[in-house]
């Protein structure tokens, strides 16, 4: 059974998601013992200097549903259909994988589809309920999946789930009205779409495991238990990547997977550090 990571990346006018995916791939190569393959789904040009870290560079199939959209998430349901692996972990591009997660692969292999439904902040404080960003989930009694970290195995069940997810993505306004009318979100989010797909299929127990190991450090400012809810976190706490590729935020070494969120987080020196680790 082949295993690997996959990301969707579509550059916008302001954000170079291909570069983010490249640094994520470097961090994967630097930290993973067993599974370090990563593929990227994109229609953008991948610089020659980046190509060597990707297992496969896969064009977005069918039409580009994100064309003319500023936040390009409409194609992400296609990841299931393009992945070259039997078992896949989907990540967001603005993440860094800092420690080996072989244990996660072993745990996930017991499932056909498994979402992360638990995040913590950089202080290792578990976010029990995200009342800032996830009111639409809470007020509508929806499950709490994070599309930015999920696993699937090529299987009938995962295929069925992604078909439902495709339906929700294409009809998100209707679905929001039907399943998430309270605290209505007027934008498409893959997290809410996944929550509604889970709700439609009634498969909570099959795809969510609160006691499982899947979790990540989420750097959205309102999750950090600060008074400042919207100030970029990098303006508030000091951080650095040391010569081993370890990320230290606020004097605390970050573990496993970090979702750094801020688009200007990737400095040239940080990229050089990770490139240097692969030599």
């Amino acid at each position: 059974m082949s295993k690997g990571f996959i990301v969707a990346a579509q550059n916008t006018d302001t954000v170079d998601y291909i570069k983010q995916a490249y640094v994520l791939a470097l961090s994967i190569k630097n930290s993973q013992k067993d599974v370090s393959c990563i593929s990227i789904m994109t229609n953008d040009s991948v610089p020659d200097t980046y190509r060597h870290v990707f297992d496969q560079i896969i064009p977005i199939p069918w039409l580009d549903d994100s064309k003319d959209k500023s936040w390009k998430v409409e194609n992400r349901w296609k990841l299931y259909h393009v992945t070259p692996y039997d078992e896949t972990i989907v990540l967001d591009t603005d993440m860094l994988l800092l420690e080996d997660i072989s244990l996660w692969w072993r745990h996930c292999s017991n499932y056909e589809l498994l979402f992360c439904n638990r995040v913590k902040n950089y202080k290792n404080e578990l976010i029990l309920e995200d009342t800032f960003y996830r009111n639409a989930f809470i007020k509508n009694n929806l499950p709490n999946p994070y599309f930015a970290l999920h696993y699937f195995k090529k299987s009938d069940f995962a295929h069925e789930f992604y078909k439902v997810l495709e339906f929700v993505v294409f009809n998100w306004e209707w679905c929001w009205t039907k399943f998430a009318p309270d605290h209505y979100q007027n934008w498409l989010s893959m997290d809410l779409a996944s929550a509604i797909a889970i709700e439609i299929l009634g498969c909570h127990g099959q795809v969510l495991d609160s006691a499982g190991p899947l979790e990540f450090v989420h750097m959205k400012p309102a999750l950090q238990n600060w008074l400042e809810k919207t100030t970029p976190w990098s303006e508030i706490v000091p951080f650095y990547v040391n010569s081993n590729g370890e990320l230290i935020i606020g004097n605390m070494k970050q573990t496993k997977l970090v979702h750094y969120v801020e688009k200007n987080f990737l400095s040239e020196s940080l990229i050089k550090t990770y490139e240097g680790l692969l030599v």
């Binding site: 202080k123 008074l227 508030i236 706490v237 000091p238 606020g250 004097n251 605390m252």
Partner: protein, 283 residues
């Protein structure tokens, strides 16, 4: 291996820490069955007023230059006093014991729970978790050294065994103290007037000893650190029962009565503790 307790008592013009230390030492003898060494900068004061109590040893040190610090005596009274409590890192060299319980003079032992710390094969044990006995106040300042930074540890009460690791730790605390202005910035303490504080220096040093992780250099002392703030008032100690007037929420200057039984308590209002030891009731 020798076991014992050490209490620092660095007197100032307002608080007789030696008096508090003598009382605290008697409790340690009674409940923990440990010999107690006093570390003080005023041995002559002890000899003159408290020599009927026999410490295991008395070690006289030069105190650091003092700083000024504002402390409360209840919710509506405060005073600027001399503060000399910055020598804690010297305990590694000063203690006569292989395994040492270090206590603040205002930490009142009412149980034998700390005995178990001497049965555990750990080189450094300290309180990380604490409980404000008022029950209503926000105690986040005792969870982390500030909202942006590392977990808070109490230098008020800890147990250490002499080893190369604990020696490194105390050297590190001394280094942090010597470079306090730098470490304040490094650990997001933004107040210019933030004075050196043992709790914060210990918390930073533990963070470094743990390799910036939640590592295993420091393990938790048994139980929790119970404390009342200097805005509360101790009014009575009767054997293992302590009675307090605790600051009321949203009613400045008003209190409610509360009692603890068989709980060790860190009494931050040293002035009220001193008055109770003198036989007063504070009411």
């Amino acid at each position: 291996m020798t076991n014992g307790a050490v209490i620092f008592a660095l007197n100032n013009h307002d608080i007789d820490y030696i008096k508090l230390a003598v009382y605290s030492a008697k409790r340690v003898n009674k409940f923990l069955d440990l010999p107690v060494t006093l570390i003080t900068d005023k041995k002559d004061w002890f000899d003159k007023y408290y020599s009927d109590y026999k410490f295991d040893k008395i070690i006289e040190i030069q105190s650091d230059p003092y700083t000024k610090r504002n402390i409360n005596d209840g919710a509506i009274s405060s005073k600027l006093i001399d503060w000399k409590n910055t020598n804690r890192h010297k305990v590694f060299d000063l203690t006569p014991y292989d395994k040492t319980l270090v206590l603040d003079a205002d930490y009142i032992v009412n149980s034998s729970i700390l005995k178990t710390a001497f049965l555990v094969d750990q080189e450094f044990q300290i309180y990380k978790h604490s409980y404000d006995i008022s029950g209503w106040r926000n105690s986040y300042e005792f969870t982390r050294i500030n909202p942006y930074s590392v977990p808070f540890y109490w230098a008020t009460c800890f147990v250490f065994e002499k080893s190369i690791f604990t020696q490194s730790f105390f050297h590190l605390v001394e280094y942090i103290k010597s470079n306090w202005e730098y470490f304040k910035i490094l650990y997001n303490i933004n107040s210019k007037n933030h004075l050196f504080r043992n709790d914060h220096a210990f918390s930073m040093a533990i963070n470094v000893m743990n390799g910036k992780t939640e590592g295993e250099f420091a393990t938790n002392l048994p139980g929790k650190m119970y404390f009342c703030r200097d805005t509360d008032i101790l009014i009575d100690i009767d054997d293992t029962k302590m009675t307090f007037l605790l600051q009321k929420e949203k009613h400045l200057g008003e209190y409610f009565v509360s009692q603890t039984s068989n709980l060790d308590v860190h009494v931050m209002n040293k002035m009220s503790l001193s008055r109770v030891l003198d036989g007063g009731s504070n009411v």
